[in-house]
């Protein structure tokens, strides 16, 4: 109060007048607004956190589609790619020695005896490179593989056509994703159909009918669509 011009009588009388108050509803509205103004706002996420969910979903979708396409491609039959080599118009499928070895190892695991491989290594050191035993032979067929290898003159690895490598790669990759075909793939990697048939023919000529029949069965597994020569039917 301004003491300089204070009039106690007037002031006292004024305070005795109606003490008018603001309506309660007005009080409530103002206090609610005041509380709301200082209410802590929900913490905002960083911009990169806001993108976490959509980016995660997008990555999942891309990964799923990619895997689906890869699986579909890998499930395509192996033979249609290997079969054209049998028509003779193209160079026979040849496999680089290292890859053939790897495929054979994969095919005969775990039953193949080590002796077969050691013998192959030994022969490799002695002379021309020979394709390893047919993978499908497995443990029981290992002796036959030895026979076949000794009977068929193999090309030197360096002389194998260069374009055969991608085919072998494709075959090898399919082998990994389709374990049930390991044997057939091993056989396909091991030799060209003509060579294989020649081996079977020689087995027959040597009177080894049982081994010839087994080898022929393996051949049919590997090349079910291949038209057999009349003398081997």
């Amino acid at each position: 109060m301004s003491d300089e011009l204070r009039d106690e009588r007037l002031s006292r009388l004024y305070r005795e007048s109606d003490r008018i108050e603001p309506p309660p509803a007005l009080d409530a509205a103002i206090l609610a607004a005041a509380r709301e103004a200082v209410k802590p706002a929900p913490s905002r996420r960083a911009w990169w956190q806001a993108w976490t969910l959509p980016m995660g979903v997008a990555a999942t979708v891309v990964l799923t589609v990619t895997l689906t396409l890869m699986v579909q491609q890998e499930q395509e039959p192996l033979v249609p790619e290997a079969a054209p080599a049998a028509d003779g118009s193209r160079a026979p499928v040849a496999v680089p020695q290292k890859k053939a070895d790897a495929a054979a190892d994969l095919a005969v695991k775990p039953a193949a005896p080590r002796e077969a491989k050691q013998e192959a290594v030994k022969r490799e050191a002695e002379g021309p490179v020979v394709a390893p035993a047919p993978a499908g032979a497995g443990a029981p067929s290992a002796p036959m593989a030895e026979t076949v290898e000794s009977a068929v003159p193999a090309r030197p690895a360096a002389a194998m056509p260069r374009q055969a490598a991608p085919a072998a790669d494709a075959v090898e990759s399919r082998t990994r994703s389709a374990p049930l075909r390991k044997e057939a793939v091993g056989a396909a990697l091991a030799r060209a159909p003509e060579q294989w048939l020649e081996v079977i023919r020689q087995l027959k000529q040597q009177g080894k009918e049982k081994e010839a029949a087994e080898a022929l069965a393996e051949f049919r597994k590997a090349y079910p669509d291949y038209k057999l020569p009349d003398d081997l039917r």
Partner: protein, 190 residues
């Protein structure tokens, strides 16, 4: 918790996020400010609207609040400015004669002769107080405002001058005229 705190400390606490501090501050000043507005605009509807606007201005201005003056001076300055806007919007130029105080004798003469209209009620003091209010409401706006700031806001002349944007002498002159008219009016009632 907030009982012993000054108005300025409460406002600072509210600025820093203490909603309860605002409530304590509001409780201290709500009635005084409301009466100031009601006496000034003479209409409960307008008073409600102005009252809410002023407090929301306080709420919204909390972040920039600094103790440069008493809280009451700041509050009544906001109220004063809001009233000016209200008067302009209402086209009440004649009422908002802030710059020119009418002649004292003319103002007294212009007071309604309510004493003669209700002689039996004037015996009671309560009725006298109500008549005083009517005289207050009949004061020129600037004088009424100065008187109400002095009574309701308990502001000094310097604070009234700061709140209304005039110098101290003008505020003093307005208050002197207001008191004189009210005294005259009360004498007429007796």
């Amino acid at each position: 918790m907030h009982e012993g705190m000054s108005d300025e400390a409460l406002m600072q606490a509210y600025r820093d996020g203490d909603a309860a501090a605002f409530e304590a501050l509001y409780r201290r000043w709500r009635s005084r400010l409301y009466r100031y507005l009601l006496r000034q605009c003479g209409n409960a509807g307008f008073a409600d609207e102005l009252f809410q606007d002023i407090w929301l201005k306080v709420v919204n201005a909390r972040k920039g609040y600094a103790v440069a003056a008493k809280f009451s001076t700041w509050l009544f300055r906001i109220a004063h400015n809001r009233l000016i806007d209200h008067y302009r919007a209402q086209g009440r130029a004649a009422i908002v004669s802030y710059d020119d105080d009418p002649d004292d004798a003319d103002a007294v003469a212009a007071l309604p002769a309510r004493a003669q209209e209700q002689p039996e009620v004037l015996i009671e003091r309560k009725a006298l107080a109500q008549e005083l209010v009517k005289h207050i409401e009949a004061l020129p706006a600037a004088q009424r405002e100065t008187f109400l700031m002095s009574e309701e806001g308990e502001l000094t002349l310097e604070e009234i001058a700061a709140a209304t944007g005039v110098n101290r002498e003008t505020a003093k002159s307005r208050l002197r005229y207001a008191l004189k008219k009210l005294r005259t009016g009360l004498k007429e009632l007796k």
